[in-house]
Symmetry: C2
Subunit: 532 residues, 2 copies
């Protein structure tokens, strides 16, 4: 069988005119559509009338040998886009990388090359290594619409990916971006799966292990759904947005850094997927493993200590679930040649006292300074994680890590290393004894006497975000009581800090609905048995 | 255990100011975001700074006791939206139903009430009747973002819904809108699951069965992914957008109508779901059944003949698949008390000769006029479907329907009934012997001699859409040869009609890639065994 493909133009048809008709002048439309390319065409534009151009259909925009795909919005206002213009949302405009007014051509987009593989996954099939490469490539190149991204995230949710598919996905995500090589046999990192407010152990673990001589080029994300990420908190103390070459110099000199990872183009598909995982609050095991491990491999890590907190309001809520997740991490880590040590920790409540960048930076500095007000839970957890990493060193005996880490911290060597890193990255003025917290405050008090039997990680994080964290560094929550504390009627449970009246109002509304604290009997405090 | 909920304001906090700060002036932003509400806030707007307002997060907009939910886009151009304004996309603006400049308040949206049920479905759980009610209510009220809609569609895809869940979904979709009651015991309808170009049997079945006295108030959709829907084709002959009361009068007088169903608010959740099913090309059995049957129940039908075409490029590609789908339709129909007769038909190729509204209207009128050029496949199929419906009448013996239908058609009574309906709805000038087709044309010719062994329904539909159908009524394809025809080298397979050079160019590009026709040996024509 053979396709009949000859077409005979009749007198009316003029293919040259057809092509000319699809040219438009480029216009930047100053709308931030958050990682979804949107193209704007006026309803009266002749090109728009050509089917299947309809609102939400996909178009391909070409100029100067570049091309991007975009979702179409139809506009009825020439102030936004004229009849002979094509508008692009901010990200899309930057990607196309030509000037306003440049002639662009627009056509109905062919579906992304990997759409067949996506449809097979939606239909429940197992995908090959090649399928994942193709899908992740299209995702990283922003060829997928939000609808297609969501379809991929939901279709690979739960147990829809077997462990080898998770490995394929991880590997494809590494391949979609840059990979760093530090030219050393031992490059260590630590990571937490997240969900516990105040859990700023990286800012203690990194200086401790670097003071022991381990190479720890730590790049972190900013907060996505939490009130502070490590990058947001470190930014209170030092500059975190550095050109990659400068960062590499700092790492070579000081064995470590604590910087934002956003500019390094490591596993870029991950950043795109997060744009739909976040609003859906989907965080399935397979996607979590691929996201975390792909970033680590791309960053050049050889050894990773991974923190999985469990608790009633943590991401992982039971030990069997934690063990299943641990095994999946270990399987994929082995396939991608990453040495992995999983630590299951207490995630029943926030770590430390402060929630929000400045409050958390205060806690970190108190621990480093061996201040008597330092939160002991943050100190102990950081020492244990640092100890595990130190044991990656071939000269350290199993079980000795914790004592070495404690020595480094107690002796002030961790503080000295942190100060070196801060100075190298560009120090900011910050007095941890008088942090310039948000000046608008209110206090949440106990309405009865009792014992603190639960602190809802999700609710206190939400309140801190509404108060302005992490955008407003001085906003957040200062916790006065933790699990098991006995409180009297009227005792302050926590203080909320904000810098804007509107933020304060939103936080107060949330507190009025639920403070996040539960008071009851001592016997009601949930127990958790963790691995340390 | 009791929640500690008291909050004590300290001197800095001023809740009244907080509320005042969230007021903005409403502005209509003339962007059509196709059934997704989008709110536009300027990046320098103080309200925007309040967390968790981020691009793509959901906000609630209130004014005059009304409220809507919208996805947030952040704007950097005061020409689109100013710092003290809130912009709404066209649909969203209409929904809020207040004037431009009106004071609105905006706050971070609580998730839709049904989001817990959605998350349980994503997690693979079975949902209750109440869950489906809640989800479908939120969908119909446009409380879901595109991301949430996609998540629902993918999470209920394939066999994720058991048959009772499909029934719950159908029932919830009926409840989300209006239900018509014709106050007669027998209200008949026919429906095809779609996918076959040119398949305009409704425009023949309706006048035939109405001429026999059956009540057939047919409302149809416009084309969604196809080059012509029944409403688009009927619109060539008559007005199809009529106020509901006028339509009801026509039905009472003539026993039938052929109108667009869009204004009746029947199963509105279905229209919203289509906005994501369409770009994903997802058409899972459960969603298809709920979509079709909910519309029929809402339209007041008591008896339905359902056409399931099978063929290599039809929606259903094998007899076992067709039988599974038939059983699911039958189960749900029984639960919602709809008398259903499923007919499995030949879907190997387009029906009739024309593809596109005007070309299909020509075919329909040729059949009604008993014109010697009438496409026999369209005539035969319509008679068989009409016969099945006529057999719903208690006075007709099983097996007699076809002969009765043929009598009605051959005698001219079907044409007379059609002319009554056309006149009642408002006739348009249309001479089926000289239809004003698109004047730009080209022909696709055989590049070898042989037998037509395949016509790709999807590709010919795509070419017809690119040529301008259904927006341009005179655009489309005129097929000169069908399956099994013997053609010589250079014979015209079909002619493409368009009205715009750009459309013609797009269609030509598609033809150059694949004409949709395959030529080969007579033995290669696929057979199909259907139920008639």
């Amino acid at each position: 069988m053979k396709q009949a493909t000859e077409t005979l133009p009749t007198s009316d048809a003029q293919p040259v005119a057809t092509l000319a008709a699809s040219k438009l002048a480029l216009r930047r439309v100053a709308i931030d559509t958050y990682r979804e390319n949107v193209a704007y065409l006026h309803r009266d534009c002749e090109i728009y009338r050509a089917e299947g151009f309809q609102a939400l259909s996909k178009v391909e925009v070409r100029a100067n040998g570049q091309h991007i795909l975009a979702t179409l919005n139809v506009v009825d206002d020439v102030a936004i886009v004229g009849c002979h213009e094509l508008g692009l949302s901010e990200d899309a405009f930057l990607q196309l990388a030509v000037d306003e007014g440049h002639v662009v051509s627009v056509s109905q987009a062919e579906p992304p090359a990997s759409i067949g593989a996506l449809n097979r996954k939606i239909a429940g099939e197992r995908l090959s290594r090649e399928d994942f490469r193709s899908i992740v490539h299209d995702i990283a190149e922003l060829h997928y619409s939000k609808i297609e991204l969501t379809a991929f995230v939901v279709a690979t949710n739960r147990d829809e990916l077997d462990r080898e598919e998770v490995y394929f996905l991880t590997e494809a995500m590494v391949a979609s971006g840059r990979t760093l090589d530090w030219h050393e046999p031992l490059v260590v990192d630590k990571h937490c799966i997240g969900g516990i407010p105040g859990n700023r152990t990286s800012m203690l673990v990194v200086p401790i292990v670097a003071a022991h001589g381990l190479l720890c080029p730590k790049t972190s994300s900013r907060a996505i759904t939490s009130p502070a990420g490590t990058a947001d908190t470190m930014e209170v103390l030092a500059n975190v947005q550095l050109p990659f070459e400068q960062l590499a110099d700092i790492v070579r000199e000081h064995r470590a850094c604590l910087a934002w990872g956003g500019t390094a183009n490591l596993s870029p598909a991950d950043d795109v997927l997060i744009s739909v995982e976040r609003p859906l609050a989907i965080d399935s095991p397979g996607q979590m493993v691929a996201s975390i491990l792909s970033k680590k491999i791309a960053a050049g890590s050889t050894h990773l200590v991974l923190d999985i907190p469990i608790g009633p309001t943590a991401k992982v809520r039971s030990m069997p679930e934690a063990q299943r997740l641990r095994r999946l991490f270990e399987y994929v880590a082995r396939r991608i040649h990453l040495s992995l040590d999983v630590v299951i920790t207490d995630g029943r409540q926030p770590v430390g006292k402060g929630i929000g960048p400045m409050l958390e930076a205060r806690d970190v500095m108190r621990v480093l300074e061996n201040d008597p007000d330092a939160p002991n839970d943050l100190r102990q957890k950081s020492l244990r994680l640092a100890g595990r990493l130190i044991e990656c060193h071939p000269d350290v005996r199993g079980g000795d890590g914790f004592a070495i880490a404690r020595d480094i911290l107690d002796s002030g060597r961790a503080l000295a290393k942190m100060n070196d890193i801060i100075a190298a990255q560009g120090a900011k003025v910050f007095d941890y004894n008088k942090p310039p917290l948000g000046r608008l405050t209110f206090e949440v008090c106990a309405t009865q006497a009792g014992v603190v039997t639960a602190i809802d990680n999700l609710q206190v994080a939400r309140i801190a975000r509404l108060a302005g964290a992490p955008k407003v560094a001085g906003a957040g929550l200062d916790l006065f009581h933790k699990l098991g504390d006995v409180v009297a009627l009227g005792d302050v449970l926590y203080r909320v800090h904000a810098s804007f009246q509107s933020d304060l109002g939103f936080a107060r509304q949330a507190c009025d609905k639920a403070t996040g604290y539960t008071l009851g009997l001592a016997a009601e405090v949930p127990h958790v048995f963790v691995e340390f």
